[in-house]
Symmetry: C2
Subunit: 421 residues, 2 copies
């Protein structure tokens, strides 16, 4: 049970996070890397205690009837703790974005201006039942010079408390204030609400999780939010699409990892290609265990397809299910995507250069792909080395976010007594 | 009086703006420049009608007891309409940010990725009693490929309606849908509320005006907001500051245009320099008509200073008033600034390179200046050519915003049948 909220306690924590963020903001890369190394070592040393805490959460989860999928996401074992330690240490090798000169010039009057990358300050993270996010987001925040306030949800309460101890120990071991990593979990939903409303204390809020969680944060927060999001991801097989590419791209996009946001959810097929492509595409899917939910025109070609429900076009299955429809033209495909896209990732398979360029120009999404699997919208694939999440909003960051997306900038202006005339 | 709100009317307008934004998003620079030229011509042709409409607003403003300052901001005369026309035409010469390749690479597997600058989509603007903003923001939005929904406030209702007509006419004359510029003004406060909540229709909201207006928008909006903001701007005269620079920089920062957000509001003086600098600095200010509000230590040196009220440290005077205090050290100056800064512009006058660098590194603001007037935090001074506003938030844009700040990006990904392994 969450205790009665004494708001002053949270105010004190937020203020402590802000103060710690100032220390981190001026830290060198070497100093911040020392925290990440101490974190890796700490996770290995205290792995048994973390796993024991996680077992409490797993037991509670089983008692509360959590699904196997959720229990799996919640689980920390020796291998997963080792992976967390390695991931934290791998961040050492990434370039530190802080201090980068983004632009600069000497004005006609001789004043020198530089736009410098600086940390955001205090990053708030709200997520559910994934204790690995606790370490991931804190490690990325520290490398980019930010303090962090975490809300990890009640299902992972014991795991997160244990991980928080490791994180705070690593900060102290490297000479930083432990207050650079904070939690509001002990205040339950009131803590989450306080975090969302902590304007002036918390500089940005990153929700990670279900569409419902993200919507709730967007609606309740006064702190600026970076939406990372749901993906109702489409692939359009144009009239000219190569059969071998169509078969392999659809299969890979749907099957390679169906539970993630860049997995394919809806396949649209040009009517002129449907008879040619659908049989082989669907055979390959069915062979992989995919349930095809088809509209009437699909079912005319593949009567074994499940009839699609109208609301399924808006559904993010995150499972071996695929919505499939036939459209009359590229325009109709674009219209369908406009209507149902969550603006994450959209793809076309085509041999026609004009249609490829139209699709790239007209589709409004974080990533638009031609003749490639939608699974490539990913920070690691893009070469960012680590991923904070995939932003589906248009402000600040769009698409896979790396360390630079956890920074802001400031202008440094140097004059010699210059006044404005 | 605002009519009863029929929400479907606003939904239709927002949807029409979205549809028009798609046309603008793929327009060439030449096509968009044609709108700006038509806008300049239209303002000149219909100037008399705009001024007549403005006179209705002025008469209503006088009847409602608007201050002379507000009436002046509201006023459009021939000279000001001509200035609006010229400003719109000047935007023709600015580089179009849309289509710029921000980054790009070929991945190890041969996939090519490019991050391309694209319009935000639909920009919402909320402002008060400044009809010039109607034309400014619409022209900048059009150049950057965005549609715009305006909420200009009841005090400028007739002026804005006339200007909206000119804007929509210019769009049509250049072959674009007039719906790319919309208003919610005829729905009064309900219209403003609908605009702030138009998630999915409106991509970003830019409030311009008083601190109260901006706070209200931030609290009520579910659409992402770019805060442009109030400036409680500080200048710190370090122990080593040159007297001639101190006198001229303080004078210029306070007096050159006191009503704007980058004007100086608080002067902090190192105790070791107070006896040396304050007399000449204050003499120059008093000569220019400035009222100095000093703390006790300032008044020990300048008994003619008005005693400062404690809440004045947080006040944005926007007038010929200046808060002045003496501090014991650079650390105390930094602490004062941390407490009262609105994170807009902060400056130090110093001869000490170490203190200059500490100030630049530790002050958290959009612009941090050494030995230069705070009036330089400005898009035109920075060479941006036009200014959307000065962002005081950390996400997306910080400091003076030009056309690129009205854009987002998307990733274009081109493969040859690539699947993820």
């Amino acid at each position: 049970m969450a205790p009665e909220l004494d708001p002053s306690v949270l105010d004190i924590r937020f203020a402590a996070a802000k103060a710690a963020s100032r220390r981190l903001a001026t830290a060198t890369s070497d100093e911040k890397d020392a925290v990440l190394r101490a974190l890796g070592a700490g996770l290995r040393e205290q792995g048994a205690a973390v796993i024991a805490a996680n077992e409490q959460d797993l037991a509670a989860g089983r008692a509360n009837g959590l699904s196997d999928g959720l229990l799996d996401r919640l689980r920390l074992d020796e291998r997963r703790v080792e992976a967390l330690a390695t991931a934290a240490e791998d961040i050492v090798d990434l370039p530190d974005p802080v201090g980068e000169v983004v632009r600069g010039s000497t004005l006609p009057n001789g004043i020198r201006i530089e736009q410098l990358r600086v940390p955001l300050g205090v990053v708030g993270a709200i997520y559910e039942a994934r204790p690995n996010v606790t370490v991931d987001i804190a490690a990325l925040a520290i490398k980019s010079g930010n303090a962090v306030v975490l809300r990890g949800g009640s299902a992972a309460e014991h795991s997160n408390r244990a991980l928080l101890g490791v994180l705070r120990g690593a900060l102290e071991a490297a000479g930083f204030p432990a207050d650079a990593v904070q939690t509001v979990d002990d205040f339950g939903r009131d803590g989450a609400r306080a975090l969302m409303q902590a304007r002036g204390h918390v500089d940005v809020l990153i929700p990670r999780g279900s569409a419902g969680l993200i919507r709730a944060v967007v609606e309740e927060a006064t702190v600026p939010v970076i939406e990372t999001g749901a993906g109702v991801v489409h692939m359009f097989l144009d009239a000219s699409a190569r059969e071998d590419w169509a078969v392999e791209l659809v299969h890979n996009a749907k099957v390679q990892r169906p539970s993630v946001c860049n997995a394919l959810e809806t396949l649209l097929v040009h009517r002129d290609a449907a008879e040619r492509l659908l049989p082989a595409v669907v055979d390959r899917l069915v062979e992989a265990g995919v349930t095809v939910h088809g509209d009437e025109r699909v079912r005319a070609i593949r009567p074994d397809a499940t009839p699609i429900e109208p609301d399924e076009w808006a559904t993010e299955h995150l499972s071996l299910d695929l919505s499939v429809g036939i459209v009359d033209s590229l325009d109709d495909a674009l219209e369908h995507i406009r209507r149902y896209s969550t603006k994450h990732t959209e793809a076309i398979v085509t041999a026609d250069v004009e249609n490829a360029e139209r699709f790239l120009a007209e589709v409004d999404a974080a990533a638009v792909l031609v003749n490639a699997s939608t699974r490539f919208t990913d920070g690691a694939e893009f070469g960012f080395g680590a991923e904070v999440g995939i932003s589906t909003q248009k402000l600040h960051a769009r698409g896979p976010m790396g360390l630079p997306e956890l920074t802001s900038t400031k202008w440094l202006v140097r004059g010699r007594g210059h006044v404005r005339g």
